[in-house]
Symmetry: C5
Subunit: 89 residues, 5 copies
């Protein structure tokens, strides 16, 4: 999983029918912060500015609980806190 | 998913038979814009210059609704608008 | 697999229900060392500062022994020692 | 999929038995051209110097029509022409 | 697949039980040579200093012939020779 920040929304009227009803959000890598940006489907009610846990690939379909959905990234958790010690011996 | 721009077409007469009939388009990463370029099969009627949502890996086969197609990227949505706030707190 | 160092923890109260009970740790690429950081679910009792073996993608679900868990990285081994000879002919 | 150029061959006498009989070719990213190089199994009769379409991951096994083959890249098409318009609005 | 050189070994006493008995080797990208390093399970008897073919992801499990093994990279061939012509027209 990667830690991202939710920075926006995407709207697409014309899309694969199985994407209907998904909330598509724009997320940006945030640990460390880069300018790399993805579109992820939200399953936990994330909002703009929140740090989230993002999964990729076939794992995203596990988050949707529907193996037919053609989305390969999902927001699966809203982060309360991250405790990092880069000097850990 | 990644946000790309459709920038071209690819033609291949000699190909794996299960690719027959797919519209193969060249897409370029567009959020942020890079020179990274891929070939994706279009399932939503995208045109040159449009911004699209692209999925990769086994997820592409979900978009085709056919698990035998040997293509690992698919255009699954045509983007109407993207609203990004990189300063989101 | 990649060699990482465990550098922290992530807490997320609001998450996909199937993530409940997983210990989510922050790991950093360590061979060679980079600043690339991931969240991995620990199945072997790893602690902060330890070097570990991390798997990605569908392989992580094999480590959980549960194909429904929406996590795409897992810590599957705690490294005792690594013996590297970069000059190997 | 990515666009590559076929630049060589690989020979390996000692290999996983299910790789027996595959033509293993060296391909290089070609759109844009980089020095990134891969080994891909050819299923369409590609030759040195040709531009090809390459798939990765589980998709390669779809190209082989055999889910037991432990190869994760396949050449699935020989490119006749690519038409790219990077200035597309 | 990628071409790597075997440069070392990894030992991990505490590990996911299904990794028991696998020979875990450290491999480094070798075509072109980079400092990118991975841990791969060897199924062909590779030795330090040899150039090998490495597969990733679900494909590794095909090499093990056991879909429960939580390892996502495998050495599937020992390279006898590579013939590359980067000037191929």
């Amino acid at each position: 999983m990667i830690i991202c920040k939710v920075i926006g929304h995407v709207w697409a009227t014309k899309k694969e029918p199985n994407l209907e009803g998904l909330k598509l959000m724009v997320v940006q890598e945030d640990e460390p912060k880069t300018d790399k940006t993805y579109v992820a489907a939200d399953v936990v009610g994330a909002g703009i500015g929140e740090r989230v846990i993002v999964v990729s690939g076939s794992t995203a379909r596990k988050a949707f609980g529907n193996d037919d959905i053609p989305a390969d990234m999902a927001i699966v958790g809203i982060i309360d806190s991250v405790e990092i010690n880069r000097k850990a011996k």
